[in-house]
């Protein structure tokens, strides 16, 4: 059994599809640190969650962000905060001031079992565009891959491109090789 420390049930379902062992949601609000890279954020979150829960079961946490290259990686680790404050359209407008519209989504899964902390990442590259499409959530309407924004795709099409799916799959492959 693996504990997934998150408040998001949808993420638990997504992760379960990649793993051969049961995944249990654990709703513990670990501290997210300020760091330019989400690997550090996820690593610290997994370590703290493992210690705080304290019953010896392994935990995973997942963190993700959108990194706009012309904006020095903004909003990066603060993607959720920026979405809630200035909003995703503002990120598109800021990017429109620059010739380089490239960006990437990154996801990191961090695993902690008391002996070690391991991290696994996934990445999808795209372009920042004015909002298009009604599907998805968050930054999906302004993130274009192969001519379509993520909000213009079906959930299935979007999941095939998923940075989170990649990170979880990499974790799952490693986890199968353990004990």
């Amino acid at each position: 059994m693996i504990r997934f420390v998150t408040g998001n049930e949808n993420k638990v379902t997504e992760v379960s599809e990649h793993l051969d062992v049961p995944v249990e949601q654990f709703d513990y609000d670990y501290v997210e640190i300020q760091a330019d890279d989400i690997t550090s954020v996820a690593r610290a979150g997994a370590a703290e969650s493992y210690d705080a829960i304290g019953d010896g079961d392994a935990v995973i946490v997942e963190d993700s962000g959108l990194f706009v290259h012309a904006l020095g990686g903004f909003p990066g680790p603060y993607s959720a905060y920026v979405e809630e404050t200035i909003g995703v359209e503002a990120v598109a407008r800021l990017t429109a001031d620059h010739p380089d519209r490239t960006a990437h989504f990154e996801s990191v899964v961090a695993y902690a079992d008391g002996n070690r902390i391991k991290t696994f990442s996934g990445r999808v590259d795209g372009l920042i565009v004015p909002p298009r499409g009604d599907g998805g959530f968050g930054y999906d309407p302004i993130f274009e891959v192969d001519g379509q924004t993520l909000a213009e795709r079906t959930t299935e099409e979007k999941n095939e491109l998923s940075h989170r799916g990649q990170a979880v799959e990499r974790f799952a492959q490693w986890y199968r090789t353990q004990s």
Copy 2:
């Protein structure tokens, strides 16, 4: 003697002017947590620094941020990160889209001595404007108080308005009442 945990010598000089006891700079890189309020960030930083240094001397840390009201408090606790990525002019442009241009600078000093953690804050209210003035640093050129941006004032004039000065003065007043 009080230890001021910071990488910024200028801050140490500013704080020393408010205190009757020696202030020693200690350059320890504590973890900044993600939180919407800088009081939580400073509190956690002081607690961690006190524990990490470990010799029993009291420590203070200081954190500050610019909170733009129309932007839900953005950039707030992430002011330094936002300055380094999208820049202060971008914050002025984002604010120009809104009728409400009010904002405030806030500073929090957190003190930890092993028995307790105390926090003290200072605040200056103003308006976000297109950049004006050559003085100051950071968000000073886009922050206007009484018709002048902070970058249009002398250092002395600016310090009279200082949110950091207020927070430090409040800490100093309390500290004098302690043994």
